[in-house]
Amino acid sequence: MKIAYYPGCLAQESAKELDMATRFVCRTLGIELVEFPNFSCCGSGFIDEANEALNIAINARNLAIAEKAGLDVLTICSTCQGMLQLARVRMQDPAMRSRVDAALKPIGIEYKGTAHVKHLLQVLTEDIGLDAVKAKVRRPLQGLKVGAFYGCHLLRPADEMESESGEEPHSFEDLLSVIGATPVDYRGRVMCCGFPIQFVKPSTASNVAGRQILDAKRHGADAMATPCPLCHLSLDAYQNKAAKEVHEHLDMPVFHLPQVVALAFGASPEELGLSRHLVRTDAALAKVRAAPPA
């Protein structure tokens, strides 16, 4: 399949490892990524707080770029997914539509609403299909217990996200199962990572993150995996702060979603930039190596 690749800001800079893993997974599965140097940032939810119409217009422009090429959009960030999808929903409101169109049309941009926005998780589980993913597994992640961490904007508001059930999602766990890992069931998997207020009130943000990591740990997770680089920042880069807030030793490796898939496809830690994580992933990788073959 061929799809417009919307990497988002982080995967192009401080979360490069996410981009590396995404490319590995897509290469393996024959997903052709079409790149557009004119895509802008999605606003990450913050522009929506400051100016809703501006936020919708910025993302309608992004969508129009893919539409013009006749492609759907692939996201690798729950927040990008949420913001682009939000634009699709809000553009159905006639008042918003005419306001945004009035800004876009004079500069030759026409938004039609024909491009769908799909997160990599959806593309893998719905478009490619779990059987096809399974067929590419060379090193099942046997013995690794993984807590999936969805990220809010992939799931909610469920009626706007055109995705699976926001309350009881299971696609991520299904994916983890076909790559040989054991998904861990815990409340935190659908909770918030705290990142949006990391700079507003760091202690509260880290408290929220700490609760979810601790929850995964108490349910036996060896590692967590997330489809969102913002969640990854909160859970990995700020994990030391989270641990302080919940007064526990956490030491929880956190993978980006395509990293766990690529590992199962046979990628090396170097190809996936695992050394760029703040919490070491060695112990989790050792578990996979030590596991008896399936």
Partner: protein, 324 residues
């Protein structure tokens, strides 16, 4: 024709602070038709099996908002949740009291913090004393004015949103989704004269602790959509006051950030939000992250088509400060 019954296992949280040393789960097994409300099951347990079970309820019709509790971890009304779907999904029904409010007994919680936050936002019309409402007459509103309330008048104050809220869980200074949705309701009421004052008060009053997780919108049985109204309140507060709080500085800083290159400049955003002094406080963590991810110091690539983005900003981001 009566529907077939199914075996339903309830695992119900039991705890009497001061009497029990720790909470426990008690199991009850009933045969019920799939469409039976969870509340009906709990009342059968209380009436036929165990009269000591403590729970709140009243109307049984999703109107009074009394029977909110956690059902298989989700905060919702017991009277409108059917046993069949829960058993199909989870095998059994785990019943717990709402979160973020202390347990008084079993499923009954102390709602003091929830109501305290509600009263703090002064949930009543503040009228201009010089222009009292005409006695015995309705105050006409245009359809557009009514539309602005969105779904907020539907709120039944069940507190399911407060129970589901991770900000309320982590930080008691957050007013909670219901209080903020109520605030919105009064802030858009054309009869209310305290709009500016309300918005000035709520910025430092915890508005910016909302993380936009939308768990409140998921939990709300009346589709009030508190998270979306909180987002509206943030935009309204910025329009009245500008970017004065950490939260509003971050939102406005983000918006301004994109004007340079169309992509996020991470370091510049931190500076806009926290200021130099704040950045200094985060220096240690910044260095820790920089050592693994040096790109945090790098300016991002400038997108192609910046001129389009600039024109979109020019068209839609004209200053609209209302001033206090």
């Amino acid at each position: 024709m009566s529907a077939e019954t199914i075996p339903v296992e309830f695992a119900v949280y039991r705890f009497q602070p001061g009497k029990d040393t720790a909470p426990r789960f008690q199991t009850y097994k009933l045969d019920l038709t799939p469409h039976t409300p969870v509340l009906t099951g709990l009342l059968r347990i209380r009436d036929e099996v165990d009269p000591s079970l403590g729970l709140r309820y009243s109307c049984r019709s999703a109107i009074c908002g009394s029977c909110a509790m956690r059902i298989n971890e989700k905060s919702r009304l017991a009277c409108e949740t059917q046993v069949g779907a829960e058993v199909a999904r989870h095998g059994r029904i785990v019943i717990e009291p709402m979160r973020n409010q202390a347990v008084i007994r079993d499923l009954v919680v102390d709602q003091t913090p929830f109501w305290r936050e509600y009263h703090k936002i002064e949930p009543h019309l503040k009228l201009d004393p010089r222009r009292p409402m005409p006695e015995g007459k309705a105050t006409p509103m245009t359809p557009a004015q009514v539309e602005r309330f969105k779904e907020t008048p539907r709120c039944i104050a069940c507190a399911a949103c407060y129970s589901a809220c991770p900000a309320a869980e982590a930080d008691p200074s957050f007013p909670g989704p219901m209080a903020l949705a109520k605030l919105y309701r009064f802030a858009v009421d054309p009869r209310d004269t305290a709009r500016t004052e309300r918005l000035l008060k709520i910025q430092p009053g915890g508005l910016w602790l909302c993380m936009r997780c939308h768990l409140c919108t998921e939990a709300c049985p009346k589709d009030v959509r508190p998270s979306e109204r909180i987002c509206d309140l943030k935009e309204m507060a910025i329009a009245v006051q500008g970017a004065t709080e950490m939260g509003s500085r971050h939102a406005v800083g983000f918006k301004e950030n994109l004007k340079d290159r169309g992509q996020l400049n991470e370091m510049k955003l931190v500076r806009a939000t926290s200021g130099f002094a704040g950045m200094l406080g985060q220096l240690g963590q910044g260095i820790r992250i920089y050592r693994k991810k040096p790109e945090i110091m790098k300016k991002p690539r400038k997108i192609e088509g910046m001129d389009e983005l600039e024109k979109i900003y020019a068209a839609l981001d004209t200053p609209k400060k209302e001033g206090p």
